[in-house]
Symmetry: C2
Subunit: 209 residues, 2 copies
């Protein structure tokens, strides 16, 4: 039985790390296609990358480590999306809108990647892995940006928020919930995402007297 369609062309010497990237890429592609985290089996990833299963062990300790790499990539993507949206915007209200737009854009454009970041069901048996802590960090870092964004609006007299931290928590919940439901229930007659997001920001974060 031939496991691999054609024998893979070897990487030149010293470029072994190239396969590592290809494995992560294959895992990412697989996640995008199937949408199910548990379909990221070590063997499926190997098939997708056109290598044999044991080859993966040169680059990853075990199956879990592949998933960790995918998560780390998703983490970078989310942060990048938010920061690229806010770059160069001085007005605090505009900046807050842009940052939230970047967040929701990533979540709706790459729902599988977003899910893998924030939608993991915690396993009570195992202790917290570094990547789960990374998820927490992602949340707290993005969350910090949100708190700062609201606080900046308050300072500029554009928001009447008296508790930016709590308001950021509510706004984050709203964005997260919308992203999840929008992906999970595509048949629901959702209002336009842009309208939803603008409403959330205005009502929750930019309170007027």
């Amino acid at each position: 039985v031939i496991e691999v369609e054609s024998v893979r062309e070897r990487n030149p010497r010293g470029q072994g790390a190239r396969l590592r990237d290809e494995i992560v890429e294959a895992a990412t592609a697989l996640l995008d296609e199937t949408g199910r985290e548990d379909s990221l089996t070590l063997r499926a990833v190997a098939r997708r990358a056109n290598i044999t299963a044991p080859s993966i062990y040169a680059h990853f300790a075990d199956r879990e480590a592949i998933l960790d790499a995918v998560i780390e990539q998703a983490f970078l993507g989310l942060i990048a999306s938010v920061e690229s949206h806010t770059a160069g915007i001085a007005d605090p209200v505009e900046s807050l809108h842009a940052g939230c737009q970047g967040y929701v854009d990533f979540a709706t454009a790459q729902p599988r990647h977003y899910r893998v970041l924030f939608n993991r069901q915690p396993d009570p048996d195992e202790p917290r892995t570094p990547v789960e802590q990374l998820s927490d960090l992602t949340g707290e870092r993005a969350f910090g940006l949100l708190v700062d964004g609201i606080a900046a609006c308050v300072e500029a007299g554009r928001s009447g928020s008296v508790d930016p931290f709590a308001d950021a928590a509510v706004l984050w919940s709203a964005m997260h919930g919308f992203a999840m439901l929008y992906d999970g229930l595509p048949h629901f007659p959702w209002p336009k995402p842009d309208y939803m997001l603008a409403t959330m920001i205005d009502r929750i974060a930019l309170i007027h007297d």
Copy 2:
């Protein structure tokens, strides 16, 4: 011996349906303990129910059917929670608060059940199953209550919402997102759930001039 299709269906002998309930109960308990949907294997459910794996086939067509039954039970639990909270409350604002409280209470008290209802990753290969449509129905039914609740507040002059449907969508997103994040990131320094929920309702649904 040739087995002939009987013209009329025979009634079960009495005790038969009891095992069905025990199987669903075992699956529910398993879901509560592990928190992971994919740990609901047919064999694990059988072990938990203290029966052999093939016994399940007398009551469920396949593994998927067990999960469907658990989902249906979660559906009933969510609806019951919302309706028990709103029962007998005449004031529209109080009723809206109570209903949302019932929704979030269920989601945070039984996060695994709530997850199994609304957090399923859609499988692109398979067509929509009846239970996925049930999920949609759950959403739409609960959502209908929310729209009506907001509309009642508007009629009573207690809310300035000009688009109860869209505002219900935003409020639902916020409640869903909060429930998911609260369960998934327990280490995050969340404000008090009651305060979060009250803030959501006031800001999103009860707009004052």
